[in-house]
């Protein structure tokens, strides 16, 4: 560090009665400043949020009564979102006599594998995921499932959000009661 020479330039002798001024060091103790510096540094490092808000595109289908989408039963997978982050699903259409076998419950952790399996097992032209949200499901669930679609590489146009039917709502209620979902 830079130092200032404090010694007097001329070497003239002082008188016998004059006390010699004590030479003070100009080296300042930097420790508190460094302490403060690091404190602020750690504060800013921790408070800086690296996660930036991003925007996800949403495409809603045009409501067109004449153009009802025809979906092959063999290629359809219906995913239902219930309360408590529960996910239910069935393939094709529900048949009244085999409800308990076809209507299955799962979770967000496992749904990805199911989506991928279905995608692999179905010719791409027939593939269709139908997403239905129960009134007790959250906004997070809706976004998560759409996100899951893009994670699994399901092309746009092969998944759609459809209104839930009262029969399906009833099925969810019954399953919730059976599984004890609060």
């Amino acid at each position: 560090m830079a130092e200032i020479d404090t010694s007097s330039g001329g070497g003239h002798k002082k008188g016998p009665g004059v006390k010699k001024a004590k030479k003070l060091s100009t080296r300042v103790d930097l420790t508190p400043m460094v302490d403060l510096g690091f404190l602020l540094l750690t504060f800013f490092v921790f408070t800086t949020t690296m996660s930036q808000a991003t925007a996800m595109n949403m495409n809603e289908p045009k409501e067109d009564k004449d153009q009802i989408l025809k979906v092959k039963n063999s290629g359809a997978m219906t995913i239902l979102l219930g309360k408590g982050d529960q996910v239910y699903y069935y393939f094709g259409q529900l048949e009244a006599d085999k409800l308990s076998e076809e209507f299955k419950s799962t979770s967000f952790k496992e749904i990805r594998q199911l989506i991928v399996d279905k995608k692999k097992a179905t010719p791409i032209d027939d593939l269709m995921y139908i997403i239905k949200s129960d009134s007790k499901s959250t906004f997070k669930n809706s976004i998560d499932i759409l996100d899951e679609m893009s994670i699994c590489g399901v092309p746009p146009g092969h998944y759609a959000e459809v209104d839930i039917t009262p029969a399906e709502q009833e099925l969810i209620r019954q399953t919730e009661i059976a599984n004890g979902i609060q």
């Binding site: 560090m1 930097l30 400043m33 460094v34 510096g37 690091f38 602020l40 540094l41 800013f44 490092v45 408070t47 800086t48 949020t49 996660s51 930036q52 808000a53 991003t54 925007a55 996800m56 595109n57 949403m58 495409n59 809603e60 289908p61 045009k62 409501e63 979102l81 990805r112 991928v116 995608k119 949200s133 129960d134 009134s135 007790k136 499901s137 959250t138 906004f139 997070k140 669930n141 809706s142 976004i143 998560d144 759409l146 996100d147 893009s150 994670i151 699994c152 590489g153």
Partner: protein, 205 residues
């Protein structure tokens, strides 16, 4: 010691300058996360859904904000005076039903954000439809795509689905089928289809 001190202060300066001061968030909302990597535009028309199911509207495009408010004042016959309109334009966001706008503007004290009732959005009285109509009216003639890029929906994780549905309904009734959702960015899970696409250099949009 000197070198360490230098480095520390350099980092300190960097972080102080690089930290973007978030605009004060009046509405505490934790958005869900998604793998999308598009940035949120600075100018946006934001519909915010809170945990409690209230919907607020923020008109971020200052150049058009006045026009939109003027438009809704006319179409919904709110009968606001010039002074009231000027006051309304200064409001950061809209969180009261249309019939309460006049009285809320004339209040001496400001209602705290947490106590605002929000914009009514149930199927019997969905005022969001009116708001979106005014927005489309003002932006009519311009590029539809530009408007779609600006329309944002931000929601809390715990907001219930019906609220989101009502917001979507408001868009649909005004023939807007594309909008955007504000999310927190999230890493693409390793090994997933999207991950493989990204590795192989495919563009995913």
């Amino acid at each position: 010691m000197t070198a360490m001190c230098d480095v520390a202060f350099l980092l300190l300066t960097f972080f102080i300058l690089a930290t973007k001061q978030k605009p004060p968030e009046v509405l505490a909302v934790t958005p869900p996360s998604s793998v999308s990597s598009k940035a949120v535009p600075d100018k946006s028309i934001m519909f915010t859904m809170t945990k409690e199911g209230k919907v607020f509207l923020m008109l971020g495009d200052e150049t058009k904000k006045g026009d939109i408010l003027e438009n809704i004042n006319l179409t919904k016959a709110l009968n606001l005076s010039q002074a009231e309109m000027a006051k309304w334009k200064k409001e950061e966001f809209i969180g009261v039903p249309l019939n309460m706008v006049k009285s809320s503007l004339n209040r001496a004290d400001k209602i705290p954000a947490t106590q605002l009732p929000g914009i009514p959005n149930d199927s019997t009285n969905n005022e969001l439809v009116d708001w979106v109509r005014s927005i489309t009216n003002v932006y009519a003639g311009g590029n539809q795509r530009d408007l779609e890029q600006m329309l944002m929906v931000k929601g809390d994780n715990d907001a219930l689905y019906p609220i989101f549905k009502n917001v979507k309904m408001a868009f649909k009734k005004n023939e807007i089928y594309k909008f955007r959702i504000v999310t927190n960015s999230e890493a693409v899970p390793i090994g997933s289809e999207l991950y493989k696409q990204a590795i192989s250099g495919d563009k995913n949009d």
